[in-house]
């Protein structure tokens, strides 16, 4: 196994806790607005680590650039959909959770 492959594998391995954190946050957080954090932050960071690790595994500039564009596309899409969902939830009068 070459050093670049090892770095790629380690980066992908580092992504797994973020995905687990995202799922756990989605299950444990109290309302829609807090659950949005778990999804759009933790999961996209995990996906970023996966793309970074895949870039090391790719060994080809064109494939690496394609991976970068996939990540940027997902980031843009999830930012927009996060805003849309929070907006829709606010319009349907879902109360933000307050610590009691």
């Amino acid at each position: 196994m070459s050093p670049t492959e090892l770095v790629g594998l380690l980066l992908i391995m580092a992504a797994i806790p973020f995905f687990w954190g995202g799922s756990l946050g989605l299950l444990r957080f109290p309302d829609v607005y807090t659950r949005l954090h778990a999804l759009t932050k933790a999961d996209n960071l995990g996906l970023g680590l996966v793309t970074a690790g895949s870039m090391f595994l790719a060994g080809d500039w064109m494939v690496a650039i394609k991976l970068l564009f996939i990540w940027l596309l997902v980031l843009t899409a999830s930012t927009v959909s996060c805003f849309l969902i929070a907006n829709a939830a606010r319009k349907t009068n879902i109360e933000p959770w307050k610590a009691s």
Binding site: S23, L26, L39, V63, I70, L73, V80, A89
Partner: protein, 95 residues
């Protein structure tokens, strides 16, 4: 690369655990968030499998998947807001 496939399986299990939110609800927005989780996790799994199984075309599948997840979200929000508007109109008429 069985190590890579094992990592993809771990991510898949985490996504499946997150999908419990679809059963729990309580609002439509929560359920849609679980679908978003499936989108992000699915893209990560596809990227890993593209290298584990030496199938570069899976990268294109991942790209299409990200676009479809975004489109599904926009359709949900449009529908959601329209249904709300309709119920508002009904309550206005009853007043």
């Amino acid at each position: 690369m069985s190590l890579l496939i094992g990592m993809a399986a771990l991510i898949l299990i985490s996504v499946l655990v997150g999908l419990v939110r679809i059963f729990r609800g309580p609002t439509g927005a929560d359920r849609m968030l679980a679908a978003q989780l499936l989108g992000t996790g699915g893209i990560a799994i596809l990227l890993i499998l593209a290298f584990a199984m030496q199938m570069p075309s899976l990268l294109n599948v991942a790209m299409v998947y990200s676009l479809l997840a975004a489109t599904a979200m926009v359709v949900f929000v449009r529908r959601h807001s329209r249904e709300n508007k309709e119920t508002e109109v009904i309550t206005d008429e009853s007043d």
